[in-house]
Symmetry: C2
Subunit: 137 residues, 2 copies
DNA sequence: ATATGTGCAAATCCTTTGCATAGAA
DNA sequence: TTCTATGCAAAGGATTTGCACATAT
């Protein structure tokens, strides 16, 4: 546990994030294993563990982690923000019936982007969401 | 104008949408030419034209159109819902600095999906957002 | 008549913000 | 001290909802 905490602390510092008590609690919960979380889930899991972190700090922290590259904010749900602790290149598959979200390895999908981007721009990322539904009987 | 309205009315009916006065106004504004709109934009353009449609009806109508396949709801902006009146297969490119959203023809991007979808599911769609930023100088 | 659609305002949900307090350097 | 982070409650913005009224079949 101490080793884990040291490791997490190091990751925060490597990303320029001061390792406060609250941030360490959230990081321990969210950064591993790789997973998809919402702010509300983080809040609920913290209080389930008896760790008291304010809602404002949860939002601040998730946004900070995303800005510093510890998390990736996903655009898959119009109703709320999802954060992905797998920051390696990959895509997502979502069940439209359940909202369930699973990773798709980037090498499972071959993408050949447009041959040219607009003048004066460079690629900043690509997001792919494959939506599936229960197969009609 | 009468021809247009007849055409739009026919499209609504073909999608199982009863062509009420408000829905025709919104459809005339939104369905062509192909474009990306938010509820707020529709509301603003309606009042700019002196057409009075309530906010609730605008939201109801856009959601109804999306449910019936007259519009596609996009997942590109965590802050508000965008609707795309181009329902043909295509993808999007978004400038992260400005939020500007442009279409990418589906044949400009080659995608080879995962060879197998999960048991009992079928494809419901795929959304691709290529994000670009101003090139570093 | 009976179904459905509309409008208004209030309610709801997610997220951010203002500000006073707590904590670390 | 001085700077930053935290917590709380309130504010904010987008969207939905409840319900009375209007409309169309």
């Amino acid at each position: 546990m101490a080793a884990d905490e040291e490791c997490i602390r190091a990751r925060l510092e490597a990303h320029g994030v001061a390792p406060t008590a609250q941030r360490l609690k959230i990081a321990a919960l969210v950064l591993e294993p790789a997973q998809h979380v919402t702010a509300e889930q983080v809040l609920a899991r913290l209080s389930a563990r008896g760790e008291r972190v304010s809602k404002a700090t949860v939002y601040n922290t998730l946004n900070l982690f995303a800005a510093r590259g510890l998390l990736r904010e996903l655009c898959v749900d119009p109703a709320r923000a999802w954060f992905d602790s797998n920051t390696a290149p990959h895509f997502h598959m979502q069940h439209v019936d359940t909202g369930e979200l699973v990773d798709v390895a980037s090498d499972a999908v071959a993408v050949t982007g447009p041959s040219q981007l607009p003048e004066g721009t460079e690629a900043a990322g690509i997001e792919i969401v494959i939506r599936v539904r229960r197969k009609a009987p």
